[in-house]
């Protein structure tokens, strides 16, 4: 695979496993085991069964008629919002809990920003009866109260991250510290295509079900397996990686990754990593991240708690540098307007994360027979408060 990972865990110049020695055995255990486990027939059978009967896959590929008329192209929505727990995050959580079980782990930790990954992890831990601790920035706990309640109801312990900026990057730091302190019995379910190798690769594989299904569904509906454009939002980039995965080697498919510009790329309140960041090391991998000249991580901003991460996954950094995918950005205002438009045009209230991808349609020019797939990565219930405040309902 041209854009895939090499044996040392690098995608071109990016990736690797920049971790303290305290984490080496855990990460090495995963590196040695994950492919065997993922390729094991018993694992595959259980994973596929749970995806079908528990998650509700395949998620539909919905032809959005009114949207298509508006934008003058055939627009399809990959409905990850219809998954159990309301987003694509459950695909990875199911995969990793089955992996953790096979590794003999007794305790699960996770980090979460918007709470979708925390909810997905709490859900699969409840499903398997395994102890679950979710780290969440103190500020995110305040702005995502319904998801905090869901995690608690599912039996997870939600621990506030009170260091640094008290958001997702700090929750990630705290989860890593927990893992360092509990190296033997604990598995860390990372929620995005970030972290030390093999996480970016493993999470991408679990999420690649999105593009695998899309190919089949598109063929059924249009007679063509390859779309002209694929769009997805990017924080760390897990839904985008899943949406791009099976199209990476088909260069005719244009891949568009939409980052959060926040209040504007140059406003000082943004999470547009590829525009503002440069190469460096964050949370265990060499990637592109927002940082000061001195290499201190800059706190990103987005109205969407799921997109305000200061880096992107290393494979995204590679796709960006190799120009295989185009990285663009959308402001808070544009995303919220797009969320409203999707609600009123198609009857679907999207997560604000996903709304960023939809907003970019406004900036594109299509030919009328272009086939366009957008990943609708999550549903908007968790963001209702933000929508209510913005539109003054």
């Amino acid at each position: 695979m041209r854009y895939g990972v090499n044996e040392q865990g690098y995608y071109g110049d990016f990736g690797g496993a920049y971790i303290p020695e305290m984490l080496y055995p855990n990460v090495e255990e995963l590196r040695q085991q994950y492919l065997n486990i993922l390729n094991d027939e018993g694992f595959k059978a259980e994973f596929n069964r749970l995806l079908k009967d528990y998650v509700g896959r395949p998620s539909p590929l919905y032809y959005a008629k009114r949207y298509s008329e508006k934008y003058g192209a055939n627009i399809f929505l990959k409905r990850e919002d219809l998954n159990h727990t309301g987003s694509h995050k459950i695909n990875n959580a199911i995969g990793q809990i089955l992996l953790a079980e096979r590794l003999g782990k007794k305790r699960i930790i996770a980090e979460t920003g918007a709470g979708q990954h925390g909810v997905a992890t709490a859900t699969v831990c409840a499903l398997k009866g395994i102890e679950c601790v979710v780290y969440m920035g103190e500020i995110d706990i305040q702005r995502q109260a319904p998801n905090v309640a869901r995690m608690k109801m599912l039996g997870a312990k939600v621990v506030p991250a009170t260091s640094g900026s008290k958001t997702l990057k700090d929750a990630t730091n705290e989860a890593m510290r927990d893992w360092i302190n509990n190296p033997v019995d604990t598995h860390y379910i990372i929620g995005s295509v970030v972290g030390p190798y093999p996480y970016p690769e493993m999470v991408a594989r679990f999420q690649s079900i999105i593009s695998e299904e899309t190919k089949n569904q598109l063929l059924e509906q249009t007679g063509k397996e390859l779309p002209d454009y694929v769009l997805a939002c990017v924080g760390g980039g897990s839904n985008a990686m899943g949406m791009f995965y099976h199209f990476l080697d088909d260069e005719a498919v244009k891949l568009i990754a939409v980052e959060a510009a926040g209040k504007g790329v140059d406003s000082g309140h943004s999470a547009a990593t590829t525009s503002l960041g440069k190469e460096g090391v964050l949370h265990g991998s060499r990637t592109i991240l927002m940082q000061t000249e001195d290499g201190q991580v800059v706190e990103p901003y987005s109205i969407s708690a799921g997109l305000d991460y200061p880096g992107i996954g290393p494979q995204h950094a590679h796709l960006y540098k190799a120009k295989r995918a185009q990285y663009v950005s959308i402001t808070d205002d544009e995303a919220l307007q797009a969320g409203l438009l999707l609600s009123q045009t198609e009857g679907i209230i999207p997560a604000i994360e996903s709304a960023h991808a939809f907003a970019y349609l406004e900036k594109m020019q299509f030919k009328k027979d272009d086939n366009v797939v957008i990943c609708l990565s999550g549903r908007g219930d968790k963001d209702l408060d933000t929508y209510i405040k913005y539109f003054k309902y």
């Binding site: 690797g16 001195d294 290499g295 201190q296």
Partner: protein, 257 residues
């Protein structure tokens, strides 16, 4: 032979190393603290260059790093402060920090500047063996800087051998698999780990760190290794009183006993 090798050639037991964060508690205190520590019998020093996301550190060192950053500490400023270091301090000095600030400064420029101001080695917890060996080793060697590796109770014998072969000053043995700021644990299993490493008869000396906070823990660590490193306990002390310089002799005395 750099200062570290000279030190270990001269003295191979009861070595005491102190870690402190550059620019904490005051932006310009770094060299003064180093000088005071040397005067009070500390054998070598680790000066931390602060980072915003120090995953291997506990709250004490993280807070000291954040305060130093808030006061304006940067790698560039630290190197400026260290310009006259060798006029005032003669014991070996290590810089300790995370890989990203080093990468942003430029690894070659970092190594060159460190060597110019008289730094002897570097401890970078998130720069693992593969990355060091495949990307940075020639640069470290060009400037005569030692890279110090960490070993934990979970590190395999095979990996310890490899670390020993890649090291040329000492190996940093962690008292437990944990972040900084815990307390030394000398349960049977940990004692077994020290003995296991000692029995390997490595070519490099061993210094134990993490959780060394008293004479008791320091003495215990010195039973199994050539010396011990005190970090969080000293950083906590520095933050505990206004006239922190005045109490340093007593702090060191209490550790050495």
């Amino acid at each position: 032979m750099n200062r570290l090798n000279q030190l270990f050639a001269k003295k191979n037991k009861d070595l005491l190393s102190i870690y402190f964060t550059a620019g904490y508690p005051d932006l310009n205190c770094t060299v003064d603290i180093a000088e005071t520590l040397e005067r009070n019998g500390v054998d070598f020093l680790e000066i931390g260059f602060p980072y915003s996301d120090p995953v291997a550190d506990g709250p004490t060192i993280q807070e000291s790093s954040q305060k130093a950053l808030d006061s304006g500490m940067t790698l560039k400023l630290l190197f400026e402060q260290l310009k006259d270091l060798r006029k005032r301090v003669s014991i070996p000095i290590l810089l300790m920090g995370y890989v990203n600030p080093m990468v942003q400064y430029g690894v070659e420029r970092f190594c060159q500047t460190a060597a110019e101001v008289g730094v002897d080695g570097v401890i970078v917890p998130d720069l693992p063996m593969y990355e060091y060996e495949s990307m940075y080793k020639p640069v470290f060697e060009k400037y005569g800087l030692s890279n110090i590796f960490l070993v934990t109770p979970q590190t395999s014998a095979e990996r310890i051998r490899k670390i020993d072969s890649l090291s040329n000053s000492f190996i940093y043995l962690l008292s437990s698999s944990s972040i900084t700021g815990g307390s030394l644990n000398v349960s049977d299993s940990i004692e077994g780990y020290y003995q296991r490493v000692k029995a390997m008869e490595l070519k490099n000396p061993i210094v134990i760190g993490f959780g060394i906070n008293s004479n008791k823990t320091y003495s215990k660590a010195c039973e199994y290794a050539n010396g011990a490193i005190v970090g969080s306990a000293f950083v906590k002390y520095l933050g505990s009183r206004e006239d922190y310089m005045a109490g340093i002799p007593e702090f060191i005395q209490n550790i050495k006993g």
